[in-house]
Amino acid sequence: MQVLQVFLSILMMSLGVHAYADSDAIELLERTGLAAQQLNYDGVFAFQKGDKLQSIRIIHRSDVQGEIERLVSLSGVEREFIRTNDMVTCIYPEGKRPQANRQPLGRGFPSDLLTRLNVATLYYQVTLGEQSRIAAHQVQELLITPVDNYRYGYRLWIAKDSNLLLQSDLVDDTGRVLEKFAFSSVEIGGDIPEQSLQPQMSGNKMSWSRTESVSPSVAIEQEDASNWQIVWLPDGFALVALQNRLKARNGAAVEQRVYSDGLSSISIFIEKIRARHSHLSGGTRMGAVNAFGTIINAHFVTVVGEVPARTVEKVGNAIRYLDRSE
């Protein structure tokens, strides 16, 4: 499961030289990363956000050809994803356009970014937690705690026998669970027949490849050339991507910058106002994602990230427009 693998490898990178990390915890994290990549497994996990529960079946196979996985939504909107090494295909019922029209997550950050993450270190504490039982497996808990209140923490539960990640909670500074990902059942290590990896849904199909964003060095050059300046970010947040998109809906150019400490990330969107539209003023949230909107120099400026409300607000208030013509 490459998503997981990336998640964990980034965790490892970012935490590799962590001052607070205990070595057992780090070692477990490394084993977990490999397990997600190398094991065969077939299970159902639930993703919980607010009062909504989405069930997803995942079938993952790893062999000489690499990894392949199939994800099927079992509740809510019918949808299947097939991911192979470099291609993602989403299958959805005839006549229903998926709202999510892009890859939710690439193979992850460009490889050079991983190197950059070595410097993003001291912002989370990694420790071993308690042992318990999830989906009929003995698990070891791993706690990832931020050192300040500008980011969220994680609690991970890892199967003791296979090292597969079985549950992951995103938690705020009061310990509240904001989002939860958990296997309700899973078979690990069995044979995965070819048939299980074939799409079963008929309908429309949409494919896209895993793309890499503009390299950070290019992004930084673009950032320097931009009229927009961010005068405050939480410690450890660095620019990882910058791009100008054309919004499909109205053709407006939108500058998107992504800043990350390696684990949490924030996007800043700057969109020129083209017509009389209303815009978010102040903060709002959806699940673990907070957003803060404001209008600066005839632009809609929006900060979005899976970080606390105080973080997006503080970043939003730290955006400046520089008039270079003067």
């Binding site: 939860k180 199909k205 109205n250 949230r285």
Partner: protein, 186 residues
């Protein structure tokens, strides 16, 4: 030009025609210059509203392209049928090429390619591996919608969230699930 004709043209722009209306609409558009101009204006307004125009430049290439096509062959059903067995190759590298371009041109939203209709196989239901237990730990009731209450603003935020998730690689598991469950929350 009757009101009904214009309503037909409006529905034509939206691809929302019933029964033999397509025939009617095409007949009107290809024989009546005024109707064609009308359709073109409706289409332009739709393009403007949907943001398909760039830098406020509107083009009309129809006449020049038609002129350029004068010497092109007129196809016949036979030539079409013969060639039907011939599949346009989807170059294997296409995805990469096109995506590379899309990135190079910074048109991220256009990186989606290839919408294919699957064979009409009967839908085979997927059997869940096991019944799903409701997780014991309660997740904070943070809501599945933006707490804005203004559709236009929420729509923009939705778009931003998708764009953000594309990069929010660090918390990959969450990003993926957020998007998979996205419509369910609507």
């Amino acid at each position: 030009m009757t009101i009904n004709q214009n309503e037909l043209l409006s529905a034509f722009v939206d691809g929302e025609l019933q029964g033999d209306e397509f025939e009617q609409a095409l007949q009107i558009v290809t024989t009546n210059e005024q109707a064609r101009t009308q359709l073109q204006r409706y289409q332009l307004v739709s393009d403007v509203l949907q943001g398909h125009t760039l830098g406020n430049q509107y083009v009309d290439l129809t006449s020049q392209i038609s002129a350029a096509l004068v010497d092109e062959p007129v196809f016949t059903q036979a030539s079409t049928t013969n060639k039907k067995s011939q599949v346009i190759p989807f170059p294997k590298q296409f995805w990469k090429q096109a995506t590379g371009l899309a990135v190079a041109a910074s048109v991220g939203a256009l990186a989606v390619m290839g919408v294919m209709t699957q064979p009409q196989n009967q839908l085979i239901p997927v059997t869940p591996v096991a019944a799903i237990d409701t997780p014991v730990v309660t997740v904070a009731q943070a809501g599945n919608r933006w707490t804005v209450g203004e559709p236009e603003v929420e729509h923009r935020l939705d778009t931003y969230l998708l764009d953000h998730n594309e990069y929010a690689g660090a918390s990959g598991v969450f990003s993926y699930a957020r998007v998979v469950s996205y419509d369910a929350g609507r």
